[in-house]
Amino acid sequence: MEETGREAGRSRPTRSKGIPIRNGVIRIAAIAMIAAVALPLGILAWREQAERSRTLVSGTLLPQPRPVAEFALTGDDGKPFTRAGLLGRWTVVFVGYTHCPDVCPTTLSQLKAAKAGLGPDAARLAVLFMSVDPERDAPDHLGRYVRYFDKDFRAVTGPADALTALGRQLGFVFVKNPAAEGEGYGIDHSAELILVDPKARLAGYLTPPFRAEALAADFETILRKQVAP
């Protein structure tokens, strides 16, 4: 401490008088004491902050999750699928349609691989394929389609106006596009994965291009999150 005081006072012209040295010692001691208390507190606060604003590798979490209002769609079992179907687990929503030959199967394969990387935690995450092509995607066809990728995947669809309304809440859009196919039509659709928390609130988005490893890391992140009331 004495050493430090002298060190600290060295640059001062009044060093020989000694008083500034004592002042220096006191000052250093005070700084040390304050630091001893403040630093761990700071580290704690910083850690908490980092935990809270933990960013996702392939997307973003909303600062404040947004509640999803009631909606009425049909599940792949033919039964009504409502807001209650989003409660109790994290849900990853992927918007697409089965006539989409490249992006949709590729993304579903990546989701399967990412989910497999979660181990036992995978049970806490639901993957929901939302078909925006109710004309061609009957519920039983959707069920067979998604379970080819993973036996736990679920699919849902419904009237175009119900899908549009839910899209406004969850932030996805889809547009029928007759130019996409010589025979039939395509549907331009949002490519993001939508994250819904266990309280049925919109929590964030993952944006393409996707990689299975990055998706798995992000799923681990959201599953670790404390879901605030």
Binding site: P101, D102, K112, V173, A179
Partner: protein, 141 residues
């Protein structure tokens, strides 16, 4: 000058009917296995043109599908949009990659559920001539 040469080349080729897409080499051709009952499949391949003139593929068909189209994907304003291309052009001494996320051969209404290990036949119609491909079905991922 270049224009004239390309025209000349095209004319020279046009006078050889029945030729199998002069200069076209196809590698890495595959069709992705899809869920049972899928009404469309995607085919991918890398096309290389070893010739001095652009190689144009005007259409494609297959005995295993009701129709084959050339599709490309465009991402704009957060939307994925599929568009139909009326033809494919492989540049001279160049490559056209028909690859996932960018382009695919859109294969409509498969004659059956194709599984991994099956083969599908695709015919490419160039100007002039045709090229018959056999594409293996593979699992994605």
């Amino acid at each position: 000058m270049k224009c004239i040469r390309i025209l000349g080349g095209a004319l020279a080729l046009a006078s050889m009917p029945g030729h199998a897409c002069e200069g076209l080499e196809v590698s890495d051709a595959r069709v992705m296995e899809s869920p049972p009952g899928a009404s469309v499949l995607a085919g991918f391949a890398t096309l290389h043109n070893s010739g001095n003139v652009p190689l144009i593929i005007r259409r494609a068909d297959s005995p295993d599908f009701s129709a084959v189209e050339f599709h490309s994907l465009v991402r704009r304003d957060g939307l994925i949009r599929m568009t139909v291309d009326s033809s494919l052009t492989v540049p001279p001494h160049g490559t056209l990659a028909i690859k996932s996320g960018e382009r695919h051969l859109m294969l409509f209404k498969p004659a059956k559920d194709f599984r991994e290990g099956d083969r599908v036949r695709i015919r490419l119609f160039c100007s002039p001539g045709t090229l018959e491909l056999t594409m293996p079905v593979e699992k994605s991922g």
